[in-house]
């Protein structure tokens, strides 16, 4: 193939002398595929293969400057490089504007308050009934129309109220994130509404029919559908963070945490953790068997608290942003 050898040769020439960093290689491969397409288009229009290759490479413009940028410090996302001129997205002024806290919309806050009130009011009768049933260990009288009406209201209103809160919150722009597009936010809202309705329907059907297995007909299909949809949405979710958040994350990643720099500290942490949890487990069983299982929660809680203190001191305690060598 005359065309391709010619294109590949010209591409190699354009990239000659540049350091073969992953970023530069990446750019070169990307350009290669696009060049081949352009050459194919030109030759289909009757241009001779060699001429087509030359013209395609000429059309690229100043690739060298681009490749040099890709091989330079900008590739590491370092903060030493001046921001590239970009009127649309990342000029300093735009960054400052994007970082400004977003004012809270009154309508949104009012909506969330109303929706929360609706959800709570809709579920209050149901929760009361459940509490009564559990308290008496006795069966509910399903004949009461009042109870049935309260249950229907709970079933109908709770899901949409929660779904609305979810969707409206996702659509809100915050200081660190952009608002989600309406369609996607609505999908999240509907999926979470399905989950809420599933739980409510499950509890209510058990109360009304007094059989546990009815949840397989009422709650489980809704929960599976809502859960699957939610999982799909989360799996396909793209970035919503603002550029300054990403920049900060890159800088933090460069700094790294203490365990990455000091493997011995990580090993010590692992041993301490095993000792701590062994002792906590032993204390839990001891207190549980001797005093009572309710009191056994106390050593468990103490264990969690001690673990958190350990994390705070060992992972984050040593360095306060300076480069003091770790002892």
């Amino acid at each position: 193939m005359m065309t391709s050898t010619s294109v590949h040769r010209l591409l190699d020439e354009a990239f000659a002398g540049l350091p073969a960093t992953p970023d530069v290689q990446d750019l070169k491969e990307e350009i290669r595929a696009n060049l081949l397409d352009r050459v194919a288009e030109l030759t289909a229009g009757g241009v001779a293969p060699d001429e087509a290759a030359r013209r395609a490479v000429d059309e690229l413009g100043d690739v060298r400057a681009l490749a040099e940028e890709a091989s330079g410090p900008a590739a590491e996302g370092g903060m030493l490089t001046p921001p590239t001129a970009s009127p649309a997205t990342s000029s300093a002024a735009a960054a400052a504007a994007a970082r400004r806290p977003v004012p809270v919309a009154r309508r949104y806050v009012a909506g969330v308050v109303v929706a929360s009130a609706v959800a709570l009011l809709a579920l209050a009768p149901l929760v009361t009934v459940v509490a009564l049933v559990l308290g008496n260990a006795d069966r509910l009288e399903p004949g009461s129309y009042m109870v049935l009406a309260a249950m229907a209201v709970g079933l109908i209103l709770s899901g949409p109220a929660v779904g609305w809160i979810v969707a409206a919150s996702l659509m809100r722009e915050t200081a660190s994130s952009y608002g989600m597009p309406r369609r996607r936010a609505t999908a999240y809202g509907v999926a979470s509404a399905l989950l809420v309705v599933g739980v409510v329907a499950g509890v209510e059907s058990v109360l009304v029919f007094d059989r546990v297995y009815v949840v397989f007909q009422t709650a489980v299909p809704l929960l599976v559908a809502g859960g699957a949809w939610l999982a799909y949405l989360v799996a396909t979710q793209t970035n919503r963070h603002k550029p300054w958040v990403l920049e900060q994350a890159r800088q933090h990643a460069q700094v790294g945490d203490r365990f990455e720099r000091d493997p011995a500290a990580a090993a010590r942490f692992g041993i301490y953790a095993v000792v701590l949890w062994t002792l906590t487990g032993a204390a839990f069983l001891l207190v549980g068997f001797t005093v009572g299982w309710l009191w056994a929660l106390l050593p468990a809680l103490l264990g969690v608290a001690a673990f958190m203190l350990m994390v705070a001191r060992m992972l984050f305690g040593a360095d306060h942003g300076n480069d003091r060598p770790v002892p």
Binding site: L27, E30, N34, S177
Partner: protein, 124 residues
């Protein structure tokens, strides 16, 4: 961006239009990606076709825009799985990209109205 006969025959008007277009490269790329994921040559072609082939954004300008957009989290890049020929690098718009696109389009609509009225065009 249509040529008016006579006025754009000199290079100055052409350069003016090309400059205007280039100033909105990032937003244009976001707009092209809004419906589906595309790779470099497709994006280039979409822009070329939309301008009737009169003005084009240089590919080097586009590559710089992709880098910037990826860095800012407005698009994501991934390699396609073509078995033959070069592998294509596809770009996918993120939710952040959609938000920025919408905001820039709103700003453009306002600006266009202002410029139209400043240039004393009728029908604005």
């Amino acid at each position: 961006m249509q040529k008016e006969s006579g006025t754009t025959s000199d290079g100055g008007a052409d350069a003016f239009a090309a400059d205007l277009l280039r100033g909105h490269t990032d937003t244009i790329v976001l707009g092209v990606l809004r419906r589906e994921d595309r790779y470099g040559f497709e994006i280039y072609k979409a822009i070329r076709d939309a301008t009737g082939g009169d003005y084009e954004i240089k590919e080097a300008t586009l590559y710089a825009a992709y880098r910037r957009l990826v860095k800012d989290g407005l698009v994501e890049a991934y390699w396609g799985d073509e078995s033959q020929g070069g592998r294509r690098k596809y770009y996918r718009i993120t939710d952040a990209g959609r938000a920025v696109y919408r905001r820039n389009v709103d700003a453009w609509v306002v600006t266009r109205r202002t410029i139209d009225s400043l240039l004393d065009l009728k029908g604005s």
